[in-house]
Symmetry: C2
Subunit: 364 residues, 2 copies
């Protein structure tokens, strides 16, 4: 099989050895005579999968016992609503840091449920950047402060996190478990699985227990964290195959080691940023200090060259490099499972593409 | 591989040829060099999967253009809340037919959102039964009438559906596409995929368009049908692998023919009910007129014999025959993909088990 290098922003590349294992046991899960996706979620085989997924995540996040962990359907988009529904009353204010497209989506959704205060706004900064801790202006008595740890479209990433005397909530969808995390800095984190944790269809939520307990009982059952906590994320039939894949991916992260994963992620992104910074042909769109280790975004001298770049890259097995339609340019998403070899191949292609096109595109 | 006969109530048996196809292309979907679960949901490969899933369902349901179709996360349990949130205001009344465990769950959830009127209640009937059309007492001006087409725990199934001059809503999770459906009798139907349509992680909703349009814009985006309709069920990253499996399963239903599927379902359930009715050793729990073609529920002369029955069946590759913990007894779930051979094997086992145990258990 000719496996392409998939730079897609998610759903995205999964570890090949994980895919191979899932394929091997696809029809007959460990000799039980059926696929894991045919198993009852109340049976022993699936319960063991679920327990290992939860335990792997707890271990990787160094989650203390006063944090509850959930695996929920609906992706991060559902969390955009569940966070304010559970943590803020209608007349409460929530502070949001507006740092790009995804933070804006989270804030917009919260504004349907409670009052929203823009505690910081770097969304128009050029080059794109994240707020410094001192940029954050609290509304005073907010229910929580929300941030988006990595902006996939803008190619930016928080390098340090703000300290606040209110609960801190983070959407970590696009960099969860790409680097070690000090969970004590957060009161709630959430993440869709489809970048670093597995396929689409399941999201992770970790929340300080005393915070989840406060949510009103009048909420629809499926939207109330405490109900999912009380039922160990089996309030209803879970998305069992995505959870199974997440279990295999987190097992792979544990085996590889999170520190090693992080070193590889830094190596991969550094190679690309070095190639971008070699001269003025490529131009990174994020401020160097806030450059994402997950989504490397850059421009070429013209949109015509960007189009040509994407098309030619595709013929060399470098897939899905087109930037998000809202911003244009090039985006190379290099999540945990993206191989170093693919980054090296892209760097070579970038160098060769520059050599072929720089002279004619540069003002002489 | 020794494939067992899986009588589980869901997640459950999927068509073997579907599993085999998914396994073959698991690492390399039709030569594109990656798994379908690694594909962007905005790319051509996944879009084609999504479109075929939607088209297959439209075709199988004979869905007119004035009905919108959605594939949503969260299962039927999320629909228990989404239906009243979209169709009823807080001061409106919704009529619910209380026919068993699942109808009760739907009604309980609705009661958090609007007023609920019990339009019929057969939940305590012994043997279990569904209401006759004339049993239904409307509250007068209800926003809709809700029914559960098949009760998986109670082993009952509506054979004809009520006519009403208000919108009719049905939870069809456990018998969707097990028999031809006259969709014009309904204004909204919903179903979790994990019985007849695929693995867990995705639910189907079909709704008369003018009904969905009325929902308040103040609802959280992910909970408002119209938002999903406007975005062709890609408001956010969909649960792509479960949708892909649903696409393969619905293709298999189309190839087999829904009339043939229904004939097989009738044949399978008839064989089991005949075996149950042969004498008094086994006792069906549902009134003969309302017996489910999907979940065949019965008792043995004692709980000790029931336990022995389940254990011995398991050793013969007849898996997951234990009734739901809330009612006990035996349950054989025989959804679309459950093979006739498995039913025949169970009938043989039942006959043999009766022969071995009837004499000592019956009052002499």
């Amino acid at each position: 099989m000719a496996r392409v290098y998939n730079f897609g922003a998610g759903p995205c590349t999964l570890p090949l050895e994980v895919l191979e294992e899932a394929q091997r046991e696809f029809l007959d899960y460990r000799g039980i005579g059926m696929s894991i996706m045919e198993c009852s979620h109340r049976g022993k085989a699936y319960q063991a999968v679920h327990d290992e997924a939860m335990n792997n995540l707890r271990q990787l996040l160094h989650l203390p016992q006063d944090y509850a962990l959930m695996l929920l359907p609906g992706g991060a988009s559902m969390q955009f609503a569940m966070v304010p529904l559970n943590l803020a009353s209608a007349d409460a204010t929530a502070d949001y840091t507006l740092t790009g497209s995804w933070a804006a989506k989270a804030a917009k959704e919260a504004a349907k449920i409670c009052r929203v205060h823009a505690a910081a706004d770097t969304s128009l900064a050029q080059p794109a950047r994240m707020p410094e801790p001192e940029d954050i202006r609290s509304s005073g008595n907010a229910a929580y402060l929300h941030l988006t740890s990595n902006e996939t479209i803008d190619g930016t990433q928080w390098k340090d996190f703000p300290n606040a005397d209110i609960p801190v909530v983070a959407d970590m969808s696009s960099d969860i478990l790409s680097r070690p995390l000090d969970i004590s800095r957060f009161d709630l984190i959430y993440a869709g699985a489809q970048k670093n944790l597995g396929p689409a269809g399941v999201a992770l939520v970790a929340v300080r227990r005393e915070l989840a307990e406060r949510a009103p009982k009048s909420l629809p059952s499926m939207l109330r964290y405490q109900n999912h906590i009380d039922n160990d994320s089996m309030l209803n039939t879970p998305p069992s195959f995505p959870v199974y894949m997440l279990m295999l991916v987190t097992r792979w992260i544990l085996k590889t080691g999170l520190e090693n994963i992080w070193r590889q992620n830094r190596d991969k992104s550094r190679l690309l940023y070095q190639e971008i910074d070699r001269d003025n042909f490529y131009r990174g769109t994020a401020h160097a200090q806030y450059r994402s280790e997950m989504n490397v975004t850059f421009r070429l001298p013209s949109e015509a060259l960007e189009k040509q770049f994407v098309t030619e890259a595709e013929t060399q097995g470098l897939h899905a490099l087109k930037g998000h339609r809202s911003v244009g340019g090039i985006r190379a998403s290099i999540y945990n499972a993206f191989p170093l070899e693919g980054v090296k191949k892209l760097c070579l292609f970038m160098s060769e593409f520059r050599n072929r096109n720089a002279a004619e595109s540069m003002p002489g």
